[in-house]
Amino acid sequence: MNLINVKNLKKDYGSDDLITSVLHDLSFKIEKGEFVAIMGPSGSGKSTLMHILSFLDRPTAGLYEFEGRNTEGFTDAYLAELRNERIGFVFQSFNLLPRTSVLDNVKLPLLYSKKKNHDALAKKALDSVGLSHRLNYYTNQISGGEKQRVALARALVCDPAVIFADEPTGNLDSKSGNTVMYILQQLNDQGRTVILVTHETDTANHAKRILRIRDGNLVSDELVKKRTIATPDQDLIK
């Protein structure tokens, strides 16, 4: 069973008079456990595609099956539940809550879930990104690389089926970026599906497969031949 099955997916914006077509007729499948990079220049529609795949937006036409189920009839509330339970987000600009501790930031998705033992789950997630020593720090007291690792822990805390990382290294120096990519590869090695959205080839080469989008069309879909393996950062070696 495919994790994601997209067929003739279309997305238009605007009203009757002025329709801007962002995605035309996309079709592809993503298996469970894959590490896929969606690549394309800005304006190509890759972000729109990610928003649809991660249930932040709905397609105008076409089929989107998630875990074997057609998502067309899903209610907004159910999509929110899916985002909470099946999807983890990592954003370019981290999107951590200000004036809030690292631990509370990671606990945020748990607030909207049915899971119990919030503290234990959040600590476990922070441990997996090597931030156990920063639990009670505030988000303005840690570095950019650490912020993105907090965001990774937040994405992991509800044990999602797939992690969406939207330009996760875009705001980071190369060393911190490398650490983030290392963690993503590790998560993938543990069997988790990762979908990376980026416009940088260097970043995309960390994935196993690259989908190239241009002007709303899928222009290529190929496996990465010479995959970059990120080296672990010193403070992550346990």
Binding site: D76, E81, R83, N95, L97, L108, L111, Y112
Partner: protein, 421 residues
């Protein structure tokens, strides 16, 4: 998402902006405090009026002279001389007004009182010996004048406790037996009539906005003829023997006075009979109208406070757009976001309500202290209904004025919100 988690979150958000939160609820605080104070003062005033009614004595009728209806409303300063001593004699006839237990006539005025080198201005009542039967009071020392002294216009006077204190307090002289000089304040004539003090009435506080301790009492005809220089009365009190005979007595009094004044036509009636229940009713009507007006003012304050909440919540939603986007991305439904902001607004106003109640209770208490200091028997009353109402209304204000910002937050598009700078 469970309630306690939302509450915790909201409390944290409010505490993170303490200063702003407090300023936001100021309007609500003032509105609620206003409601509490007004209702407390209303209850205090009511208890004061009721207390004075019982102090004056129950089953009391009051007859006052009026211009007849034909000549229109009485003009301030107009002298109405229609009620005279003969009328009182007629009212005292047991065959004509059988249920009158006591009939007391009175005139009032302002007087200058001199003892030795001390001189004070006070008010006086010229009354007869029946005064003690229509009014409740006790003597501090000496006694009230009797009917012989009254009818003989004896040169005697009874002092209110405050007057006695002002005149004799410093010297330590026993006022009984001392001679004071009394003259009407409006008469330029120097000197005054020398009167011997025969009694001092114990303190009884204020009644109907007049301090009864700051008064002197002298025989009716003395007051009429020698001090005021008049031959008519300003009021007659009738004590009715039992409550069930009040209506009958009012009818009897009307009949007697119409005969005395030879009135055939209703338009020529030149007196009015009032009973205490009427007086209380009139006062209650006035205080109720005033209360309603003040509550309307307080309601306006609550609305203005609510608009303040609306304003600040809109700003808050704008400021927290990214946070709202993030919460939605990680699984918050529109409903959860809406409830979070609704709860935030209603907790703000609820807190405003609580602070307002505390402020209102404290201010009401201080006012009651002040009123007691001024000599009124003022009760400090806080009605539970007003407290519950105030909190309820303020929370409702938060919900009503929080709806718009809460729906705005709930409707935010998470993609747009996450991009928001």
């Amino acid at each position: 998402m469970n309630i306690s988690a939302i509450v915790k979150l909201v409390v944290k958000n409010l505490l993170a902006r303490k200063g702003r939160s407090l300023l936001t609820i100021l309007g609500i605080v003032i509105g609620v405090a206003g409601v509490i104070i007004i209702i407390s003062l209303g209850a205090g005033a009511q208890s004061l009026i009721l207390g004075q009614v019982t102090k004056l004595g129950s089953n009391l009728l009051f007859i006052e002279p009026t211009k007849n209806i034909e000549s229109g409303a009485p003009v301030p300063g107009l002298i109405i001389s229609t009620l005279v001593n003969n009328d009182v004699d007629a009212l005292r006839s047991p065959s004509r007004v059988p249920h009158a237990a006591a009939v007391n006539a009175a005139v009032n005025g302002l007087a200058s009182v001199t003892w030795g080198s001390k001189s004070i201005d006070t008010s006086f009542t010229g009354t007869d010996s029946y005064y003690s039967q229509v009014t409740n009071f006790t003597m501090q020392s000496g006694q009230f004048f009797n009917s012989q002294e009254d009818q003989g216009a004896a040169n005697v006077v009874v002092l209110g406790s405050a007057v006695s204190e002002q005149l004799f307090g410093d010297s330590g002289v026993n006022p009984i037996g001392q001679v004071i000089k009394v003259k009407s304040s409006i008469q330029a004539k120097a000197g005054g009539i020398p009167l011997r003090v025969i009694g001092v009435i114990a303190s009884r506080g204020s009644s109907f906005f007049q301090n009864q301790d700051d008064m002197i009492f002298l025989p009716l005809t003395l007051g009429q003829e020698q001090i005021l220089g008049i031959h008519y009365l300003q009021g007659v009190y009738i004590k009715v023997d039992a409550a069930e005979n009040i209506d009958q007595t009012i009818a009897d009094v009307n009949l007697v006075l119409r005969q005395q004044h030879r009135i055939q036509n209703d338009v020529n009636i030149d007196f009015a009979v009032r009973n205490q229940a009427d007086a209380v009713k009139i006062l209650s009507t006035i205080t109720d109208a005033l209360k309603l007006f003040l509550i309307a003012m307080a309601a306006i304050s609550l609305v203005v406070g609510g608009i303040g909440i609306l304003n600040i919540m809109m700003v808050t939603v704008g400021e927290r757009t990214r946070e709202i986007g993030l919460r939605k991305a990680v699984g918050a439904t529109n409903g959860v976001i809406r409830n979070q902001f609704l709860l935030e607004a209603s907790m703000l106003t609820g807190l405003g309500g609580v602070i307002g109640i505390i402020a209102g209770v404290i201010i009401s208490y201080l006012i009651s202290l002040l009123m007691r200091q001024l000599g009124y028997e003022w009760a400090f009353v806080i009605s539970w209904v007003s407290v519950v109402l105030a909190v309820g209304v303020s929370i409702l204000t938060g919900i009503v004025f929080g709806l718009l910002p809460a729906f705005k937050a709930a409707k935010l598009d998470p993609i747009e919100a996450l991009r928001y700078e």
